[in-house]
Symmetry: C2
Subunit: 629 residues, 2 copies
């Protein structure tokens, strides 16, 4: 039964008051948190949840539900209060906020069924919201995506990357709301309450922008309706609000960011003020019943079809980056959930091969890596299997997004090409030499580094269906085919490429330097020295057992070789894997800032060519203590 | 002798033609590079270098010189050609482009005296330019800063972070030029030749914007003059250009990005076309003599004064983040080159202590970490000693800037607070657990991690004057004072806090977990087990010799403890340092995505509390082989 407008507004005002009370109570109970940042946005959230959005509080992951992303993640208590108010869980749970035994954490994470992506690093939620909105188009659902931003976070460049992509993609199913309370953490924001400063920026970036009083429920509802009616562009509602709204002694006051009300007089006074703000509504009005339900669930996505094995032949010469492009295109044929994202290097990463076949599932982000990864996070959270790719070095641009993807444990499948000094003449700015360190640091990221086209194609398929986030490192140079098409690879596996009973040491490497190790093996064999060679295509997880066995069988020494800086890469991964076994690990890695030159010159100059491997083997076998096994 | 306008324009046209010829010749000789990206900007660069900018080609680092930052670093051959044309070096050097024996690398680095910061990762040069412009104000110089951007790179969010900060700081000594050639690497840019799309964005961000034909020398000169006359805001000149301008068969054509002309017919045809574009100028006109010289050098900065020793006393309890704030304020008193930069967390990092004393040397960047680090790079390149700081986790937002700072080898002194799970209730999004991995990966970054206020203050002073980039990790919890005020610290040092002849193992740690190790030491000693405890406050460089000695003296085992993920931190640093000595390293580190909770609960849950250290010592001493020394 629809309410008349006056009753609806009165009811929503009361919801907002309850959300304020709950946000304040829960943060005071926790002894920390951001109640004043909740209070400024309470009217907006009340209107969104209880008049605008269509969702099922008992089934937050319903694929047809409207989505809400709290980009200003520090207002988590407000989000939790809204879901409790909607009936998703018991309101008393709110008082466990920030406790180690509760999923109601300081900032939202997908441990909670109603959270798609973790927020709390500002400027990221809006990027994920773009991906969530793109996903609606992908699955042909009419769900809408709402994203609440802080005014302070609008200083993050990632917000404007999202703005560009959303307008370019004409995402009229996306509606942002900026909570302009004028105060950042440590001082007034750059723009204070100058709503036009915000609106002009959004308009310049191609959005429809509406300025309103963010405490006027009627204005909020009208703006949402206007956004819904706007075609061909996303809408940003710029809402003037007061930080701490509802509690007179903190309203608009600096120094109250991230500060809970002290239990006792301070808290009591705040709550008493809020209690007086309830307005009369008809008896028996049940707010939860007013939530619009989502449309019926979209049809389940078709099961993936089998993929043909790699078609490479011995003697072919194919860069792993190129094999990557071929692999995602093949996989895309088999599974409609596979999508690809680019940052204007598709002709270098070969993701253009996917675009050619599936232009509708290919998302161009131009030269903007944060929105590429952020959007992939949103897509993955809603059921797609996204493969964002660019030069591996430029993935560092999105390191904070990668960190948050790990916290979200969301299945983005990142690929970085042009790794290492082997790219050659373009010089250090284009060489990824810290990407393995970046991805390995995140404990739940799978990290893969194939050396040939066959293993690339097999590992692309494996990473697509392995749960959680994953990274594949690819290389620029052409590489010969090492493996036959029916070779079996596993996440967490490795391949022993050369072995004999008399091996004096083990060389562990991956990617381009596998071929340097094979050259060294050949040269050493000619000189009567046998070494074991391992292709460590899976760095994380890592096959510690096989590494230890190899190290033990070859004199207790392992030499690692990598086209990567010394810290955080193959050497460190192997050293940790074998540390308890007392095996010594000798690292060949890039140890200074490199320069431009030919690939082979650089491999040699920075100590990771076959020549250096031969020298290292000789040095290690000379120092090998007799009888260590 | 000033030229008449017509002669000047004719002369500049010829300069532009020579720059095109040199860019094309050098890239063809190298066999790679971006000649068409040079051609689009040749007229702009000719006008800037030979009519607008004041500099001394024989003294590129002159402190009073106007500065030029090539944000679109892939146009490096054009930059090199301009400096050769100006007489900085012999034109024939250009043909060594991209060779391993030449500093004329694929993208510019400060190995060249006329380059302030390395570029080639797009969207960064404009951030550095903001810092360079701020520095002019700091040293009261009237030098102007010019920055050439690509149109494609304007998709990078960092560009808009720079835009905000520059307009907020009213940097009317900064002039950007966007080379709108309409083509990115793999396709047309987001906006093509829509100059107003660019101009409107810049205006919305508070800049003065001028749209021109970027091949009309007269229009370029007029726009530069207008920029010079504009007060209170920076200017962006939005220049419509043609990619490959001057060579008819590539002009405006897709597919020519990053492609050199093939030697032979293709190159010859291009050069022949360009040769025909020279126009008559008076005989004997020497373009180099037309370059305006910089004003006299600003006075040398005063030598730093001595700094009083730390004033902490035993029994004080001070968080290292707080000690950091005090330390930079003290240092600022002694040295006018010290500046601080913030991203709206100055009340948490305590950099507000610096702001209170030196508001003019404190640069607020609001919630925008990329411009904070980028601006610091520019300041450092021009003689300041900048201390940018924020929560350590949010430094990942600027990981690509940190990577480029390493390539630039520029002396930024980065501080990250709130490291690790010890921050407690705010949860994983606010916990830095990969910052050590990020900074250690860069081979020339100094990485420090003090545990108490005294060491923090000493290390802040050391990092300020240690050459190159540096990082300090600080913590949220209050910590007791461990060291006396006259304790001596060194970059690359460590402190043995507890030792005895009968130590069964060595615990190596830093920061908050030093206190856990000391608790464990006490508990073990009470139970009759002696262990060595080392405060590894300098992770990079690292004192391998002392670590090996300690490991050898304590049974061949080291236990590392860190409030950081397992990869890339203290464990890996120690393991590499001792790897050749055959010492086994056992790591206690955070191995899963953490959650919210009390600091002490989290240290315990994630295995890095005193209890876990005691257990590890017992396990290690049980397995210790007899007689290993």
């Amino acid at each position: 039964m629809p309410l008349d407008r006056a009753t609806q507004i009165a009811a929503l005002k009361n919801v907002a008051t309850r959300l304020r009370i709950d946000s304040i109570r829960s943060t005071s109970e926790a002894g920390s948190g951001h109640p004043t940042s909740c209070c400024s946005a309470a009217d907006v959230v009340a209107a969104l949840f209880f008049a605008e959005m269509r969702f099922d509080p008992k089934d937050p992951r319903h694929p047809g539900s409207d989505r809400f992303v709290l980009s200003k993640g520090h207002a988590a208590p407000l989000l939790y209060a809204a879901w409790a108010e909607a009936g998703a869980f018991d309101r008393e749970e709110l008082l466990k906020l920030r406790r180690i035994d509760s999923d109601l954490e300081g900032h939202p994470t997908p441990r909670l069924s109603f959270v798609d992506v973790a927020t709390g690093s500002l400027g990221q939620g809006i990027c994920a919201a773009v991906g969530i909105a793109l996903n609606a188009r992908r699955i042909e659902s009419d769900y809408r995506t709402y994203c609440l931003l802080g005014d302070g976070e609008s200083a993050e460049g990632s917000v404007w990357e999202a703005a560009d992509v959303a307008s370019l993609d004409k995402l009229d199913n996306l509606c942002g709301i900026t909570d302009v309370n004028g105060l950042g953490q440590s001082r007034a924001t750059m723009w204070g309450h100058d709503l036009e400063a915000f609106a002009n920026r959004w308009r310049a970036f191609g959005w429809h922008a509406i300025t309103i009083d963010g405490h006027d429920i009627s204005a909020i509802l009208d703006a949402c309706a206007e956004a819904r009616a706007t075609r061909g562009k996303p809408t940003m509602i710029v809402a003037r609000t007061i930080k701490g709204k509802g509690v007179s002694f903190v309203e608009g006051k600096d120094g109250w960011h991230g500060r809970a009300f002290k239990k006792g007089e301070e808290l009591d006074r705040a709550l008493a003020e809020l209690e007086r703000q309830f307005v009369p509504v008809p008896a028996g009005l049940n707010q939860q019943q007013l939530i619009a339900k989502p449309a019926s669930k979209p049809p389940a996505e078709p099961a993936p079809k089998p993929v043909a094995p790699p078609s490479y032949k011995a003697g072919d010469s194919v860069a792993t980056r190129e094999a990557y492009g071929t692999a995602i295109a093949k996989l895309g044929e088999a599974d409609a959930r596979i999508v690809a994202l680019d940052a204007d290097v598709k002709n270098s990463t070969f993701s253009e091969r996917f675009e050619k076949v599936f232009p509708d599932r290919f998302y161009e982000n131009f030269i903007a890596e944060q929105i590429m990864i952020g959007s992939a996070m949103g897509l993955a959270a809603r059921g797609a299997i996204p493969f964002p790719s660019t030069f591996a070095c430029f993935l560092t641009r999105a390191a904070d997004f990668i960190r948050m993807a790990a916290i979200s444990n969301v299945g983005i499948k990142v690929a970085g090409s042009h790794a290492g000094v082997s790219i050659g003449e373009d010089g250090p700015s284009q060489m990824a030499l810290e990407d393995l360190a970046m991805f390995r640091a995140e404990p739940n990221f799978t990290v893969l580094y194939p050396c040939d086209a066959v293993s690339t194609e097999r590992l692309v398929a494996l990473m697509a269906y392995h749960p959680g986030p994953a990274y594949m490192r690819t290389s620029r140079p052409k590489a010969e085919i090492l493996y036959s098409a029916d070779e079996v690879f596993t996440i967490g596996g490795l391949k022993v490429l050369r072995e004999s009973a008399g091996d004096v040491t083990t060389i562990v490497t991956a990617g381009v330097t596998v071929f340097e190790a094979l050259k060294a093996h050949k040269e050493l064999r000619a000189a009567g020295t046998a070494v074991r060679v391992i292709d460590l295509y899976s760095l994380q997880p890592i096959d510690a057992k096989s590494l230890i066995a190899a190290g033990r069988a070859t004199g207790g020494h392992i030499i690692t070789v990598e086209d990567h800086y010394a810290a955080g890469g193959i050497g460190d991964a192997v050293a940790e894997a074998v540390s308890d076994a007392g095996i010594r690990v000798h690292r060949l890695a890039v140890r200074e800032i490199p320069r431009s030159g030919k690939p082979e010159e650089l491999l040699d100059r920075y100590g990771i060519s076959a020549k250096h491997i031969v020298e290292a083997v000789r040095a290690v076998s000379a120092q090998r203590p007799v009888g260590v096994k």
